[in-house]
Amino acid sequence: MQSIRNNVGVFLSFSGPTFIWLLLFFVVPLGIVWLYSFGENVSLTEIETTWTLDNYRRMLEPEILELMGRSVWLAFASTVICLLVGFPMALVIATASPNAKPWLLLLIMLPFWTNLLIRTYALLNILGTRGRLNDLLRWMYEKADAFLNTIGLGNYALLGDGFTPLKLLGTQTGVIYGIVYVSLPFAILPIYSSLERMDKSLLEASMDLGASQWQTAKNVLIPLAMPGVITAAIITFIPALGQFLTPDLLGRGQVDMIANVIERQFKRANDWPFGSAISLTLLYVTFMILAIRSFNDAARAKRAGRR
């Protein structure tokens, strides 16, 4: 690590281009959003910044509050499912043989590299009323029904009158399915890397001291993997909250999330100031989550230092 004192020229020529780029194409655009969020439409194409708070006040309308609540709930539910499914999957990869590990990781990463739109589009075929998931459920229903008939319980209609396909497109379940589908690899990788770094002898020590397999998992394995789980939760939750494609394609306009309403302000409603205010609110929520996380990390580091 060098001090810049002796190399001001080198430092400026290396940091300059990036700094200017970010200023011009990142900071200034966000600044415009910020200014517009206090603005009003004066004509069809013109927006004037009048420092009105109306756009933020409109965020308190019941419709928008409901939308926010729904988005947070959908993102939260998807995150929880991702963690519950991702943890055992990460555990399998972390403890697999050295030969198998890169292949298992590749298996998880490949879908992640496939285009997000294509993956979401692919779900349309799976989740439709006449889609593949319902085909599978129908098949299972028929097998179960046949089984009940053979053991002589066929006349009690234990499984209902007949197979009713699940309605997934245009429902919250379908959207959660979609978000879990696109974010599962995000959730697995950080958990995997924290499990991978873990000192395995701690697990053995726990067993030697008489803890059962389950106690060891609960009191040693999971707490040690916690930093990875938290990272996984954050990098699943933040993009999930801002998801546009999943609710758009799988929600069919019935299950809108924040991003869909933002998009409508820009493309159809032509209400940029309100769209800006919603975007910034989403941005502030993101910052809040990250801030809590870094305070938490600092506190953890301090505790560790004291020990």
């Binding site: 060098q2 001090s3 810049i4 190399n7 080198v10 430092f11 290396f14 940091s15 281009p17 990036t18 970010l22 194409f25 990142f26 655009p29 966000l30 415009i32 959003v33 499914v85 055992p88 999957m89 555990l91 399998v92 990869i93 403890t95 043989s97 030969n99 198998a100 490949l110 879908p111 590299w113 496939t114 997000l116 739109l117 294509i118 589009y121 692919a122 779900l123 349309l124 075929n125 799976i126 439709g128 889609g131 593949r132 589908y181 599962l184 690899p185 053995e204 933040i238 993009p239 801002g242 546009f244 494609l245 924040i258 998009e263 820009f266 800006s276 975007s279 989403l282 941005l283 990250l290």
Partner: protein, 282 residues
């Protein structure tokens, strides 16, 4: 299962050998792959309407149709052009950023680091919206009417902005394994600052630069949301075109087009992996 090896006795922490966990993993893999596999299968479905519901026999005519669809092919060419242009600049900016953060101590460094990583963490939709407003305020939304490939400038700028921080991250990781003594030795032998950079540092960075480039390329090819906001009505990329096709109606042609993109991605991944393996053995 030769993958996991049966030769040794499974210890209590060989979680990968527990059947319960293996089942969860296998189901997870099916969950991740089934939609893609079904999509590819149905791209060969010989059915005109509602192509995704009932299998009606094998055909490759939808590939011919996709390849013959001029708008789709133009969108594909646009996507590749954007990806190539944004990758080159992203790797350049990413390398500069990585070197600055790795090499120098300077005031407000944490703030600079934070600023560079912001495009990674902020929601896509916010970035799309802000760039759309910026371009329209600068009068750059009309670039859609200028000559190809200059009509893609907006999208290229947007793609660079979100992908170079990723490239910087990858390159910086690579730099951390650089042995500073090499640099000192070169200087002792009379090399100047530029020669050290060109002959010592750059060759060491090469795998990082390639990994960063592949990441930037994939990110650019993959992006829908930000492109959707920053593209004018006349500049369409592959994902944006597919999106408008999906909104219109679901046809096997979309499956065929998607399959083409999936194969391209697989191919790129394959190259990346091969390159990494070559790098680790040398």
């Amino acid at each position: 299962m030769p993958f996991f090896g049966k030769d040794k006795k499974a210890g209590p922490f060989d979680y990968s050998r527990k059947w319960s966990l293996r089942t969860v993993f296998a189901l997870g893999a099916v969950f991740l792959y089934a939609p893609i596999v079904v999509l590819v299968i149905f791209s060969f479905n010989n059915s005109r309407r509602g192509g995704n519901i009932i299998w009606k026999g094998f055909t490759t005519k939808y590939y011919e149709k996709a390849f013959g669809n001029e708008e789709l092919m133009l969108a594909f060419a646009n996507s590749l052009t954007i990806a190539i242009a944004s990758t080159i600049i992203s790797v350049f900016l990413g390398a500069l950023t990585a070197i600055v953060l790795w090499r120098f101590r300077f005031p407000l460094k944490p703030a600079y680091e934070g600023l560079v990583s912001l495009p990674i963490v902020i929601p896509e939709i916010c970035m799309g919206v802000s760039l759309a407003m910026f371009f329209s305020k600068m009068g750059m939304m009309q670039t859609g009417d200028s000559v190809w490939p200059f009509n893609l400038t907006n999208i290229i700028i947007a793609h660079i902005t979100f992908s170079f921080p990723f490239a910087a991250m990858v390159i910086r990781t690579r730099l951390q394994s650089f042995n500073r003594e090499m640099e000192e030795a070169a200087k002792d032998l009379g090399a100047n600052e530029f020669q050290v950079f060109k002959d010592i540092l750059l060759p060491h960075m090469k795998p990082g630069l390639i990994a960063g480039a592949l990441l930037a390329f994939t990110l650019s090819l993959d992006d829908f949301v930000i492109t959707f906001f920053t593209s004018g009505p006349n500049t369409v990329t592959f994902p944006v075109k597919i999106y408008s096709m999906v909104r219109f109606s679901v046809t096997p042609e979309i499956n065929a087009a998607s399959t083409i993109l999936i194969i391209l991605t697989l191919f790129l991944t394959f190259i990346a992996l091969r390159y990494q393996r070559m790098d680790s053995t040398s």
